[in-house]
């Protein structure tokens, strides 16, 4: 009886404390909204926060974010750089961002595709904090303290496709991806188009894993593709180690993505594309610190590519087997894309044989590329999973 009463009292106290904690949160938020609406978002922020969906050494997406964050730290040694790894793409992300704001951060980078909703919520609740999202698109009116940014990933992927097209002997390339999101479809298409531009017989076999990083599924996908005679593998996954190692173990070539994983595949590495966020991150932080974020280029769906000379997605180091002739072809193609061309210069037909994705002579603008890549192009074996 006594224990039961004690338990009731303990539970009651816990409830009281938690309601007190919750209400003090609201109180704090209300105060910051009232007092700071006049203040430019992000101005003179003492700290900057980065939230990542995975670990910082995944040889991929999140490692690149971390490297960019360290570059910001180097440029602004007096600022506190807060990083959070393994932040899931749920409400948890909003909680982590709130935590960073409490620690003083007035500039937050939400770096995973699925962090967009959380980013929008946090931006709405804190008008004095600059929240920028990596990879998403905000439709309609952009709030004054929110922005999205990304590079034209498909441009270096097109160049990497050239490497694959030249290296393959079986003319079968393999692409492991997670979900058929617009970025991924554009990547797969660009890869195939790049390979086909130097090797018209090349075909790309696609396998999805329904997961940004499931090593077991990746291993199975790699085995399956290799068993089909594929001799160049590439991927759109957050963690790139498994597939890279699997290709190397099987004696196949591998084209990297997100980061330089060449040390995992000393023989098979051809090249790839990797993030180089340092310049973009540092410039964004600089703009925000000066109070100039609102109305700047970053306060929009900011996309840059080779044509702007500021593509944060660059071509990786070439591997040992890449010939000088191939390197020259890549350089020529890059020059072409950087000026008047595009990986998606028409005419481009979908792999059903009839649908025309890009008309003859059409050079799509950066903003239209993702929207126009609705199907896989000719040469890609497989279809986009129907909804």
């Amino acid at each position: 009886m006594r224990t039961r009463r004690f338990m009731a009292a303990a539970i009651g106290a816990a409830l009281l404390l938690s309601t007190a904690a919750c209400s003090s949160n609201d109180g704090g938020q209300a105060a910051s909204v009232e007092g700071k609406t006049a203040e430019a978002p992000g101005k003179a922020s003492p700290a900057v926060g980065f939230i990542m969906v995975g670990p910082k050494d995944d040889f991929g997406y999140n490692q690149a974010v971390y490297d960019g964050a360290m570059a910001v730290q180097k440029a602004y040694p007096e600022m506190e750089v807060l990083t959070a790894e393994n932040v899931p793409e749920t409400d948890e992300a909003a909680r982590v961002m709130e935590g960073m704001i409490k620690k003083g951060a007035k500039i937050i980078f939400a770096t995973s595709y699925g962090h967009l909703d959380a980013a929008k919520t946090v931006a709405a609740a804190h008008p004095d904090v600059v929240v920028v999202h990596q990879g998403g698109t905000v439709d309609g009116k952009m709030p004054p303290n929110l922005g999205t940014y990304f590079g034209t990933v498909y441009e270096p992927v097109y160049l990497a496709g050239i490497l694959a097209g030249k290296a393959t002997k079986s003319n079968k390339l393999g692409y492991v991806y997670a979900f058929p999101i617009p970025q991924t479809i554009a990547n797969i298409n660009a890869f195939q188009l790049g390979a086909a531009s130097v090797n018209p017989k090349a075909q790309t076999y696609v396998v999805n894993t329904s997961n940004w990083c499931d090593p077991a599924a990746q291993a199975q996908a790699a085995q399956s593709l290799l068993g089909q005679g594929v001799d160049v593998l590439t991927q759109h996954q957050d963690c790139t180690a498994t597939i890279t190692k699997a290709a190397e173990a099987a004696g196949a070539y591998v084209v990297g993505y997100h980061a330089d994983a060449s040390k995992l595949a000393p023989k098979g590495w051809l090249g790839g594309s990797e993030w180089a966020w340092s310049d973009l991150y540092t410039d964004l932080v600089k703009t925000a610190l000066a109070g100039k974020f609102t109305g700047s280029a970053y306060n929009a769906n900011y996309r840059v590519g080779f044509k702007d000379g500021k593509n944060p997605f660059v071509v990786s180091e070439f591997g040992p087997s890449v010939t000088d002739e191939t390197k020259a072809q890549v350089a020529t193609a890059k020059q072409d894309i950087s000026t008047t061309g595009s990986p998606f210069k028409g005419p481009i037909t979908a792999n059903d044989g009839t649908t025309v994705l890009f008309a003859a002579g059409e050079v799509p603008a950066y903003a239209d590329v993702e929207a126009k890549n609705t199907m896989f192009v000719e040469g890609v074996v497989g279809e986009i999973p129907k909804k």
Binding site: V207, N208, C213, Q220, A221, S224, G227, T242, K245, A249
Partner: protein
């Protein structure tokens, strides 16, 4: 490789980790303890296996470390369930969350490390047999060990003295007590062995199959193992068949896709779980009658007709 052979071969490799966990869970459930923390033991085994393999350069040390990690996590369950009488199902889930947290925390350092994986070893002569060869005899050593483990566990449970004690503990603990055998240590040993086997299964996943460690990489295989044990009526040979079934379901998606068959990816990835539900529905009646009496009390919350 033709489609059928590839799916089955992938099924054996992928099902191997499920088989280890399922065999362990068979022993545990025969003793009357349902270990929902099997997934946690597999995670612990995968993390420890990869970490030790990276540190020592020897994947076998990794397998041993995986067994130890799985065993330690199962010991948490054994203590709270057997010593303190807490609810088996809830405690199992708590162990799972504990394992998730611990492996995420300590595993971060090992994500970028590389290991010498368990190499595939082709059994001389046997691996040449068309179809059966690539499916059964071109696998990693831990999978071969699993082949031996299935009859070993059968013999242990149904032909050995210790197995009799285990099954007795699962049916009626009073019987054991009447004959002067201590119940709790018997059950605890069964749970610990179950955890150790699940740990080896996890180690197989990270050191042989995927050759990587990433947080939460087990992705529900531990729960699939528990389901397999339930619908296979806790008998080692049907459990092995069930584990193969699941491994095959998991290998189906990439095999079909890489040949250009486009089926809705979400439907394909749901197949293993749909298969579980179907199997449970189809086998429910027989399974209900065969459940050891002591185990029925664990599931008392849901009426079994």
């Amino acid at each position: 490789m033709n489609l059928f052979v590839e799916i089955l071969a992938g099924g054996v490799t992928g099902g191997s980790s499920i088989l280890y966990a399922a065999l362990g869970e068979t022993i545990s459930e025969r003793a009357g303890v349902v270990n929902l923390g099997t997934e946690g033991s597999m995670l612990g085994g995968a993390c420890a296996g990869y970490a030790i393999a990276a540190q020592t350069g020897n994947p076998w040390m990794g397998a041993i470390a995986g067994a130890v990690a799985g065993c330690l996590l199962a010991s948490v369950l054994a203590y709270f369930v057997l010593e303190r009488g807490s609810n088996q199902l809830a405690t199992g889930l708590v162990v799972l969350f504990l394992a998730l947290g611990l492996t995420s925390l300590f595993g971060v350092a090992f994500v970028s490390r590389t290991i010498t994986p368990m190499a595939v070893w082709d059994v001389p002569l046997l691996s040449e047999i068309p179809a059966i060869g690539p499916i059964l005899f071109q696998q990693d050593p831990l999978t071969y060990l699993a082949y031996a483990l299935v009859p070993a566990v059968w013999w242990l449970l149904f032909r050995s003295r210790w197995g009799l004690l285990i099954r007795g503990a699962g049916e009626r603990t009073e019987v054991l007590a009447t004959y002067g055998h201590r119940v709790v240590p018997t059950q605890a040993l069964a749970v610990l062995i179950g955890g150790a086997l699940a740990g080896i299964g996890g180690a197989q996943l990270s050191t042989a199959y995927a050759n990587a460690w990433f947080e939460n990489m087990v992705q529900g295989r531990g729960f699939i193992a528990v389901a397999v044990v339930i619908f296979a009526n806790r008998k080692p040979f049907p459990v092995a068949a069930g584990a193969l079934l699941f491994g095959t379901a998991l290998a189906l998606s990439p095999a079909l896709q890489s040949r250009g068959y486009s089926i809705n990816q979400f439907a394909l990835h749901a197949i293993p779980y749909v298969a579980t539900i179907l199997a449970l529905v189809v086998l429910a009646r027989r399974q209900a009658d065969d459940t050891p009496e002591g185990l029925r009390k664990v599931f008392e919350l849901s009426p079994v007709h």
